[in-house]
Symmetry: C2
């Protein structure tokens, strides 16, 4: 295992300490229990948006805390759901008096622990609503998941609902918006190489010298099929086609697209993949309103990529364009 | 070779096409000859800032074109200097009537070709000044280089001089500022794995299962020594100590620090390395005024990192904080 780490058991703590040093102007990092909250705390009278999950997907979620996106985030151990305690603490810290929305990726542990935390927070008088993201069209009922997995759609959801909360939408409106986004977002990913969980010390799965896995999960969960490595254009088609079908996209559809790297894939390759994605959407008459290309939801050092597509109308584009100021996503301020 | 590419010979063209699709609001991409220029062209009456070099280091340089940073950038083939023609074309495209400053990383081919292009542009009546960056403290007279190599310091230089040009500093002032930055910036890098140049198809160098290379160049040029992999804190010390010595930093020094990934290293590891860097600087009484943590000057999919330190006073911090709006670096707008 070759990693820039010290102690495998201290990876999350030390990364959070590094993040606090790097981005102390934007976020406050708490280590006991672990959570990241917007610097200065939640804006009074606005809905708090809280997400979280296992670490190893950076910048998701802690890197999306700040103005116009998440109010707080809860990092678990690497690829491990956070327990209810830190989720509850983050929920309390994110409460500006207008309630808190939980954004939960659909993994069994996350769903259960966010539920428990919501009950604990409710007992303290905080109104909590919860939305589960299940955008991965690759497989149903995967390792760790009943139903579809939550992946890249979470990034787009956090941006859009964060913008709504920032402009003052109430809890009910934020929840309805989140459900609307979840109902129209789809993703699919692939891997050229495995990742290695630090405390495991060996690759999560084995891929042959010339193999790739299509439909991979962000924890290395099995996908749809294992194939010989293909040119980027064919890979793009294998990722995009099932998403297009799932969302029933066609001529006149309007979308936001994310071409996302898994952590070990360089930008030069992501641009090549993104080129193919945009061309294929254009060929189908789909209009790409906005796009994001880079490493936003990763799987440690995995080489690979995913494509996420969200169907939008004007109001969602407007929320997308609203200013955002977080360590991982920043524009308009 | 596992890469998300189509034809190894088309990597730069297709990545540029993808970049054009991803960032058409910020940059204009030209394919014949290859250069990237700020959308809307150079601001009239302001100094144009042009850089360039081999591709494979993204987001450097094309990703730093836009408001407050580069006016234009010239991407060569992967790890290959651009020829004088596209540099000349970019220089013409970046000329807003107040002259053009070339920022050149110290590689023999880059230096020669930028020189020739500057002469060609001068023959067209454009005043061109040139500054060579040689911040890599690891080795002198490396593969491709006489003297020290130009690496991460280039990112900080482009930001700071770009801000000066944006506020209207004249060519002489921009050149003097650039020389000041070059004289007080130092970097050192390391690799856990090699990169693979697409048209070569095999790793540039071999590292054993448990080996790392300290002082690596951004094209995989040999560094100072090959050692067994160490914990991140020791790696940080191996990178930072020579830079601190080179810059003669001590109690009361004020710096901007970049902890940079080589392309294949995930953010969670960069934060752990950055934590060590900040702690070591604090132990020496050095005050870190600003920092940047992420993948800014890469070596394709290489796993590894580099540390860059720039000594600053208030005026440089002010230029650092000035708004920047490029694909790869963005704040304040």
């Amino acid at each position: 295992m070759k990693k820039l780490i010290n102690d495998p058991e201290r990876v999350v703590d030390e990364a959070l300490e590094g993040m606090a040093l790097a981005h102390g102007d934007l976020v406050e990092v708490h280590l006991s229990p672990h959570y990241v909250v917007r610097a200065g705390g939640p804006p009074a009278g606005k809905v708090g948006i809280v997400s979280g999950g296992g670490s190893g997907h950076e910048p998701l979620h802690g890197g999306f805390v700040g103005h116009g996106m998440l109010t707080a985030a809860v990092p678990g151990a690497v690829f491990t759901s956070p327990t209810p305690d830190p989720i509850q603490a983050a929920t309390v810290a994110a409460n500006g008096g207008a309630g808190v929305l939980h954004i939960v990726k659909n993994y069994t542990g996350d769903v259960l622990n966010f539920e428990t935390a919501a009950e604990l927070a409710a007992a303290e008088g905080i109104e909590v609503r919860s939305v589960v993201v299940d955008d991965d069209v690759a497989v149903k009922d995967s390792l760790y998941t009943a139903g579809r997995r939550g992946v890249g759609g979470t990034v787009l959801l956090e941006k859009i609902v964060g913008a709504a909360a920032e402009r003052g939408d109430d809890l009910e409106a934020c929840e309805a918006l989140a459900r609307r986004v979840v109902s129209r977002v789809g993703s699919m990913g692939m891997a050229l190489t495995s990742c290695t969980v630090p405390h495991a010390g060996r690759p999560t799965f084995d891929l042959g010298e010339n193999e790739m896995e299509i439909g991979i999960g962000i924890h290395g969960e099995p996908g749809r099929e294992r194939l010989p490595v293909e040119p980027a254009d064919q890979v793009a088609s294998r990722l995009l086609d099932p998403v297009v079908e799932d969302l029933d996209l066609g001529s006149g559809s309007r979308v936001i697209v994310m071409t996302n790297g898994m952590g070990g894939t360089p930008l030069i390759e992501l641009y090549i993949l993104h080129r193919a994605v945009e061309r294929m959407l254009a060929d189908r008459g789909v209009r790409v309103e906005r796009r994001l290309v880079g490493n936003y939801i990763t799987s440690l050092e995995m080489q690979g990529a995913s494509v996420t597509v969200l169907t939008v109308e004007d109001d969602l584009v407007e929320l997308w364009d609203a200013p955002v100021c977080t360590p991982g996503l920043r524009w308009g301020m």
